[in-house]
């Protein structure tokens, strides 16, 4: 049995795609483009292969499935400093916590400039699907 929380997210993606397919009365797509944030730390190849497998099982045809990653970027609300994940050392426990719940980043990362936890995730926390008919 698969023990991956990517499965829950793939099921969510599939629900969304099937809903559109039903609404548009189509069984095939030209392109399915999934964008996921760097914070989710998903195995993109695994996510892609799981999604393709589900699409085949649901008899949905497609020419191409692409999985993109949106880089993480943060901006502090207190001092305005912007930063990314580059150079930030995270323990395996913290990486896993953020993988499951990206907002857990606020528990473990503070603004490198002023130390505040009051910052925005400007990018890198996304689950989005674009489809082309």
């Amino acid at each position: 049995m698969l023990k991956l929380h990517e499965l829950a997210v793939v099921e969510a993606l599939l629900t969304s795609i099937l809903s559109l397919a039903s609404e548009r009365r189509v069984k095939s797509f030209k392109k399915i483009i999934v964008s996921i944030g760097e914070l989710q730390r998903f195995d993109r190849e695994l996510l892609k292969s799981m999604l393709i497998d589900f699409l085949y099982r649901m008899n949905i045809h497609f020419e191409e499935v692409i999985v993109n990653e949106e880089p993480a970027l943060f901006q502090c609300n207190r001092c305005g400093f912007k930063w990314d994940l580059g150079g930030i050392e995270l323990s395996d426990y913290v990486k896993e916590a953020i993988h499951f719940l990206p907002e857990a980043v606020y528990s473990f990362i503070k603004c490198p400039s002023c130390g505040s936890r009051d910052y925005d995730i400007k990018s890198g926390r996304i689950v989005k699907v674009n489809v082309e008919l």
């Binding site: 049995m1 698969l2 023990k3 991956l4 929380h5 499965l7 829950a8 997210v9 099921e11 969510a12 993606l13 629900t15 969304s16 795609i17 809903s19 559109l20 609300n77 896993e96 916590a97 499951f100 719940l101 990206p102 907002e103 857990a104 606020y106 528990s107 473990f108 936890r117 009051d118 925005d120 995730i121 926390r125 689950v127 989005k128 699907v129 674009n130 489809v131 082309e132 008919l133």
Partner: protein
Amino acid sequence: MSFVLGDPRVEYIRAKLARLKGVLLFVGGKGGVGKSTIATLTSFSLMSRGFEVGLIDMDLTNPSINVILGLNMADMKVIEDRGVKPINVHGVKFFSPIVFIGENPLPLRGSSVVNALRELLTISNLEDVEILLIDMPPSIKEEVLEVIRYNVKPVVVASQDPLGSWSAKRLLRLLKDEGVSNVAIVENMAMKEKAILDDYARSLSYTHLGVIPFDQEFYKTIGDVRGILASKLYSSILGITDNIINFLYV
């Protein structure tokens, strides 16, 4: 032709919750009215009636049901199987953000609140759950507005003091304005036996579940599930469980 689909988690959550026998959302206009306690005790009372019960602590920035249940941090580990499995607490299937953040604070603004809430509902494995109880943070904010869109049944926990009852009425009024048709109210920590919010609930065609008397000894049982289940407060909850079940099946 190209389409950007909405957040895929929303439909997934809606379908996931619709497969359950019922979802109760414990809300309150003010903090300190006992939402978390009532939600926790209700989970055990429903389990005593044979239901498979899940309990989610959705007070993301200040989760505390783990304290009521006496769980230590060693108990709060992520178990992954088609999502995140619950922690079994004397038969209740318990989900909490504590498994991810531990004792660290979690300040959230704006869209992060909704994102975190949707993520938790998406990744929580509810396969063995029949009835889900969700404990929400106090007041009327993004979390409540988000979750009421998923066809859940809010239970407003209110106190009988003037501040508590005033807040409860405002929350009931909001739920009515948002088109939530099935709402219940329970008066908690009551100093008076007689209900004070029943007429107002009925004026909105809502359900009044009952009055839970103040149990001044209850605080001594916090952290001890066996003590909690032997408390007068739990007896009072058992006394309204028929009403809760009837409300679930409305």
